[in-house]
């Protein structure tokens, strides 16, 4: 057997000894749970009757649902919503990591900047922020770099830079970065101080320590709430209407609903897609948690 993959002694299944015939294991009779069976039957019955009602209820217009669930403009909306979620989260995560390092730095300028960023973006409503990003091109028609009281060095039309898609991503990403920064900070604070000292004693530089030693350990604490935030972001993308950005899923289904005067089936379409994407994200989160739990989650606690 490959030595490196060999399980530690204490993880060898207890039944091994039994199979060798050396130990006669106790005959264990598991606890009975009649209440659980009863509850299961009751809940199944309730769920079934509810599902039956919803499926046959004409108010839900399932024919309209079926007609529009894979409609091109809905699928395009799904694509944009996923894209907005991923890019805004990527922006938010990058900024949040930077903010955490800045807050932990011994440079007072960096610390103060990070504090103000978090204070501002966490302290104002995301809807308001999105409105402002939408108005950015009106408020600042031209961005330019110029000498004080002198001529312009470089400059460009703001409308070229801050398109509705960019405004949506920046608005969502900047807002989220402030929340993530706090989550990340908690993750880094959870690491034993000895880890930093051990890395310093090896002569590692600060950047390497963050990347190689602290970040992988913080990830274990960071991933679950960040998964939470990602799912929150998925649904927060429906606010980009404020920019206005009009290609996301919620806007697409609303537009159809308004045209048909039938809000319910289109809400079901939107709900179906949000739930599907969330389920997909949860699978991804499971694998991330498994990856960053290595070395810690190898021995599971007894759960009963």
């Amino acid at each position: 057997m490959d030595i490196e993959k060999a399980p530690p002694d204490r993880l060898v299944p207890a039944r091994q000894a039994d199979r060798d015939g050396a130990v006669k294991l106790n005959e264990v009779v598991p606890r009975r749970h009649p209440g659980r069976w009863l509850a299961t039957i009751l809940l199944l019955w309730l769920a079934f009757s509810f599902a039956q009602n919803v499926a046959t209820n004409e108010n839900f217009h399932w024919d309209i649902f079926a007609q529009y669930v894979f409609a091109p403009q809905v699928i395009r909306g799904v694509g944009w919503t996923i894209l907005l979620t991923i890019v805004a989260m990527a922006v938010a995560i990058s900024i949040a990591l930077l903010l955490v390092v800045m807050r932990g730095s011994d440079n007072p300028i960096l610390r103060t900047c990070a504090w103000f960023w978090i204070w501002f973006f966490r302290g104002t409503p995301v809807y308001t922020q999105l409105l402002f990003w939408g108005l950015f091109a009106v408020l600042f028609p031209r961005i330019s770099l110029s000498l004080p009281f002198g001529s312009e060095i470089v400059g460009l039309d703001t409308r070229m830079l801050v398109t509705p898609a960019v405004a949506a991503i920046v608005g969502l990403g900047f807002n989220e970065s402030a929340y993530l920064a706090e989550i990340f900070r908690a993750g880094f604070n959870a690491i034993d101080r000895g880890q930093l000292e051990a890395a310093q004693a090896l002569g590692m530089r600060q950047g390497r320590i963050w990347r190689r030693i602290l970040l992988p350990q913080a990830m274990r604490v960071i991933v679950p709430p960040t998964g939470n935030e990602t799912i929150g972001m998925l649904k927060m993308t429906s606010l980009v209407l404020a920019v206005p950005f009009t290609l996301d899923l919620m806007f697409a289904t609303n537009a159809i609903a308004n045209r048909l005067y039938l809000p319910v089936p289109l809400l079901l379409v939107a709900g179906f897609w949000y739930l599907s994407i969330t389920s997909l994200l949860m699978v991804g989160q499971y694998y991330l948690e498994r990856h960053f739990g290595r070395g810690v989650d190898t021995i599971r606690a007894r759960t009963e």
């Binding site: 490196e4 090896l202 390497r208 290595r294």
Partner: protein, 266 residues
């Protein structure tokens, strides 16, 4: 400027490996180290003993700059640690330079401080690969050899959580040795271990001492101190009270405080 630009001088046999000069350390109003002078020569095994809170661990941590000193000078391998002295003033070195200085010493902690997300061999390879830029294959070979040296050749792929305390501490020693330090620092390496596991770690340290490694050890194992040390330091209330040949200090302590301490632990 010259003092910063010159490369670290290589130590020679004549030069002390560690030289502490008038070290003071304050934590707020607590005077943790009081005017400590200490010289550790090449190949010497210096053991510091003393009651809890006497400042022995703090002193050890000053040598590789995990603690900032309040007064005095620390020389490691002939080089002033942490500062550049220009016109009598101490200019703080860049973090990069301090990291470079730390590479010449290895440290073993009371609570092991292995990186929990890396296997035993990855822990040992971390320094060489990510600090010294040793090729991975070479680092792996060296790490495997070090694991063999500390008697853990079979456990390369285990995570720290799957190792006993004694095994973890031996991996930690191998991790420090992988950087090929010229001085090894041990901060109570057996204090967090079950009594039955102390021996295996002490054996590794003994083996290291007999190989000629310069080291400083803080410990409560007086018997071990007697056996391996050739320089014993007794500390109390932040000061070095008595030092010298271990047999002399342990058998005929001249200071009453040393006598009082030894009468309790021996």
């Amino acid at each position: 400027m010259n003092a910063i630009m010159t490369p670290p001088p290589r130590s020679t046999d004549a030069q002390p490996c560690v030289h502490l000069q008038g070290i003071h350390k304050f934590y707020g109003s607590v005077h943790a180290l009081r005017n400590v002078d200490l010289t550790i020569k090449r190949g010497e095994v210096c053991v510091a003993i003393g009651p809890s809170g006497s400042g022995k661990s703090t002193l050890l941590r000053c040598i590789n700059q995990l603690e900032e000193i309040s007064a005095g000078k620390v020389y490691v391998l002939g080089e002033l640690a942490g500062y550049a002295e220009i016109d009598g003033r101490m200019h703080v070195l860049a973090p990069r330079r301090i990291a470079e200085q730390r590479r010449r010493t290895g440290m073993v902690f009371q609570r092991f401080n292995l990186f929990p997300h890396m296997t035993a061999i990855e822990n040992i390879m971390e320094g060489p690969v990510h600090v010294k830029n040793t090729p991975k294959a070479t680092a792996r070979e060296n790490a495997q050899a070090l694991l063999k040296r500390v008697g853990l050749a079979d456990l390369a792929g285990r995570y720290p959580s799957q190792l006993s305390g004694g095994q973890q501490q031996r991996v930690a020693i191998a991790r420090a040795l992988a950087m090929e330090p010229e001085v090894m620092l041990f901060d109570e390496p057996t204090s967090a271990l079950d009594p039955e596991l102390v021996g295996e770690v002490l054996d590794v340290i003994k083996d290291l001492a007999s190989s000629g490694m310069t080291m400083m050890l803080v410990t409560h194992e007086i018997g071990f101190a007697r056996e391996v040390a050739n320089h014993l330091v007794f500390m109390d209330q932040g000061a070095v009270v008595e030092e010298g040949d271990p047999r002399a200090v342990l058998n005929r302590p001249s200071n009453p405080r040393t006598r009082a301490f030894l009468s309790k632990v021996l």
